[in-house]
């Protein structure tokens, strides 16, 4: 077996280097982290916040170890050098796609593409990136359930930032649901439980299940198709870290 991500080899043995779940898929042994910052992958759609504006580019905080430069040529806009701040300012949020990564850790992102652009209105809720597959659900089932029952608009970035739009009540309910998912991510059958939770809190409250999403307070229609279902989603729940391959260095 070859040591994969989340492991290291020394003295002929393989040890875990991060806290996580053991995955043995011959010929690879790896540890899937349970926590940690977002590690960018090419083609991931992520939600970022502008932290700095330069003459020809912006720096985005996408929750990764480094800020990601978004060059003005990577936007759908026609911009002159030095005019970047007219389009995006510090604190603005955008949906971008990870284009390339270089070995030094630089992250290239683009805003050219379907569903990418500036976010207007709404709220961003941050969750642990490792929990994103749970929030999305199998083929987007979880996020679809949330949309249906709350009437909110929800866009999930692969980096663990979730954009929520709609009425203040809807936004509140979605953040509540996200908190519950985050706290119970290791449980199976989560989508069903969330559904019954949403149903029950609804009977006590205000709105019917099939309320169509309200268009609210933003000019550009926000993207609603960010999430890609991760195949690892269910396998994460079956393994326990107590059966790790390693002895002294395990955790």
């Amino acid at each position: 077996m070859k040591p994969g991500p989340g492991t290291y080899r020394t003295g002929g043995r393989v040890y875990a280097s991060v806290l996580g779940l053991l995955s043995e898929r011959p010929p690879l042994v790896q540890v899937i982290p349970l926590s940690g910052r977002y590690i960018p992958k090419p083609n991931d759609t992520v939600i970022g916040t502008v932290t700095d504006v330069q003459g020809t580019f912006w720096l985005l905080d996408i929750g990764a170890p480094r800020w990601a430069p978004l060059h003005m040529t990577g936007t759908p806009w026609q911009i002159d050098v030095g005019e970047t701040e007219r389009f995006l300012r510090v604190g603005d949020s955008v949906v971008v796609q990870v284009e390339n990564l270089d070995p030094t850790g630089r992250i290239g992102v683009t805003m050219n593409g379907e569903g990418l652009g500036k976010l207007e209105g709404g709220t961003i809720v941050a969750i642990t990136p490792a929990r994103v597959p749970r929030v999305v659900g199998r083929n987007g089932s979880m996020v679809e359930t949330i949309r249906q029952y709350t009437g909110a608009q929800v866009a999930v970035g692969q980096n663990g930032r979730v954009w929520v739009g709609g009425t203040p009540e809807a936004i509140h309910r979605v953040s509540e649901v996200l908190r519950i998912i985050e706290e119970n991510a290791q449980h199976s059958g989560l989508t069903e439980r969330i559904e019954s939770y949403l149903k029950s809190s609804e009977s006590a409250g205000e709105r019917g299940p099939e309320t169509p999403p309200e268009e609210h307070a933003h000019r550009d229609a926000p993207p609603r198709t960010l999430e890609s279902a991760e195949p690892d989603e269910e396998t994460l729940t079956v393994e326990d870290d107590s059966n790790e391959p390693t002895e002294p260095g395990e955790r």
Partner: protein, 249 residues
């Protein structure tokens, strides 16, 4: 015995061989480890160890501030140990002092030898250790808390870093000194162990010991570290245990 004044040396070791708080020589104080105590940090842990209470938070890998500290081939590890003004009986003057600078340095360097910093070039891993209540052994408690916080933050490392102080009390080598033993004892020797390799990554000493006593103390310290190591692993498992579903659902 009559009145025992504050300045008078207390009886550190009873004729039966028990210490001031009733422990045996090789016994640790009670330890409670809680992983994930803070919401905003990437990783965090709270440690209650005897009468010590220590909080640790880890942020990163993230952009380096100030910029010039950035290293092109690896992450920099910035550690800050701080003791609250209210952590000790007599109010401590708040802020940086030589003691906290020293402890920040030795703890930071201990972690530099176990963290795989090359995986995150041009970034910073920031460790904050806050001592809320102190009763000797806070650097070890801080190190244990920081180590759990790093694991909680998903930072790749060779291993967790258990740490403990050994000392010489009333002529005997004793594990995990408490305040009175530290103040009136003859020596204090904090160590931090990498269980995977058996290496020590922190070793300091204050006071006097013979060569024999030193090797006896190291042996006892390593044994104590292994005991703490098991507790640390248990605390991490507990964080992600699949118990009954909580929350309001």
């Amino acid at each position: 015995m009559g009145n025992v004044g504050a300045k008078e040396v207390p009886v550190l070791l009873s004729p039966e061989g028990l210490r001031i708080d009733g422990r045996r020589l090789d016994e640790l104080r009670p330890i409670r480890l809680q992983v994930g105590a803070l919401h905003n940090a990437d990783g965090s842990a709270f440690v209650e160890w005897g009468q010590n209470k220590v909080m640790a938070a880890v942020y990163g890998p993230r952009e380096v501030h100030p910029r010039h500290l950035q290293q092109s081939n690896k992450a920099v590890i910035q550690c800050k140990y701080n003791m609250a003004a209210f952590a000790v009986d007599e109010r401590k003057r708040p802020g940086l002092d030589r003691r906290s600078q020293e402890i920040s340095k030795v703890i930071g360097e201990a972690f530099e030898s176990v963290v795989f910093a090359e995986e995150y070039p041009r970034t910073s891993i920031d460790i904050y250790i806050e001592v809320l209540q102190a009763n000797a052994g806070t650097r070890c408690a801080g190190l244990v808390a920081a180590s759990l916080a790093l694991a909680d933050a998903g930072i790749p490392m060779v291993d967790l870093l258990p740490a403990v102080a050994v000392g010489k009390v009333a002529g005997k080598i004793a594990l995990d000194l408490k305040k009175e033993e530290d103040n009136f004892g003859e020596a204090d020797l904090p160590i931090a162990l990498v269980p995977q390799s058996g290496r020590l990554v922190l070793l300091q000493m204050e006071g006097h010991m013979t060569e024999e006593e030193l090797s006896q103390a190291l042996e006892l310290g390593v044994q104590g570290c292994r005991e703490i190591y098991e507790k640390m692993k248990a605390a991490l498992r507990e964080r992600y245990a699949t118990g009954p579903m909580g929350g309001s659902a």
